[in-house]
Symmetry: C2
Subunit: 106 residues, 2 copies
Amino acid sequence: MDHDVVDGVLAALADPTRRQLLDLLAAHGQATATTLAGGLPVSRQAIVKHLTVLDAAGLVSSVKIGREVRYGVRPEALDATARWMAALAADWDRRLAKIKRIAEQG
Amino acid sequence: MDHDVVDGVLAALADPTRRQLLDLLAAHGQATATTLAGGLPVSRQAIVKHLTVLDAAGLVSSVKIGREVRYGVRPEALDATARWMAALAADWDRRLAKIKRIAEQG
DNA sequence: CTCATGTGCAACTCTGGTGTTGCACATGAG
DNA sequence: CTCATGTGCAACACCAGAGTTGCACATGAG
């Protein structure tokens, strides 16, 4: 199911540093851990750990080129989570509307 | 901006227990912390803390009725976050498509 | 009034995640 | 080959957050 994907994405997006990381990646299109570390106030190793989490969540992918590792953004997991969330919100709306209707009409 | 809302929602949804809590609330429509504690393997106090977080994120609302406090689900913040996420995913798609086009033709 | 039940507040423990540092390894540049 | 640069691995410090427990307070039920 998508459920596992959603779990991972939500956990990954919970951290502000990881969201900044995704912003940088989306802007540059492609970047290494070392490059990204230059744009954030944390060490390269911290960046690597975050990228590992993002990769596990399916939000980024990595390609090894020579002696460096290029990371890029991957929209699918985020899109799936967005759809899940929208559906959940719609479901809540439906339930609340139903309850309200019952309360008003008896 | 919606940005603060999104931050809070993402932080709130990161915890599995809070997501279960939201499920229970959506199912029951209305419930107290004590009632909810009966449906989860944690203490009432833990539930209260989670509900406080969810309330701060705008995902639930509380109403005091006599000596008990009823909590209910609130779809707006979740819906706003879903829209934000969908827009972000679309933006990534757009960027990747652009890069791909350049790589192929340029 | 008396009591049971639900809530609020505070202190405490403890695990997990974030971040750091240090060093070893791999590889392209010269 | 030699060296600089980029990665990988491991141990460590640190702190926010999840959960618990204990007790005091408030209020509906009888």
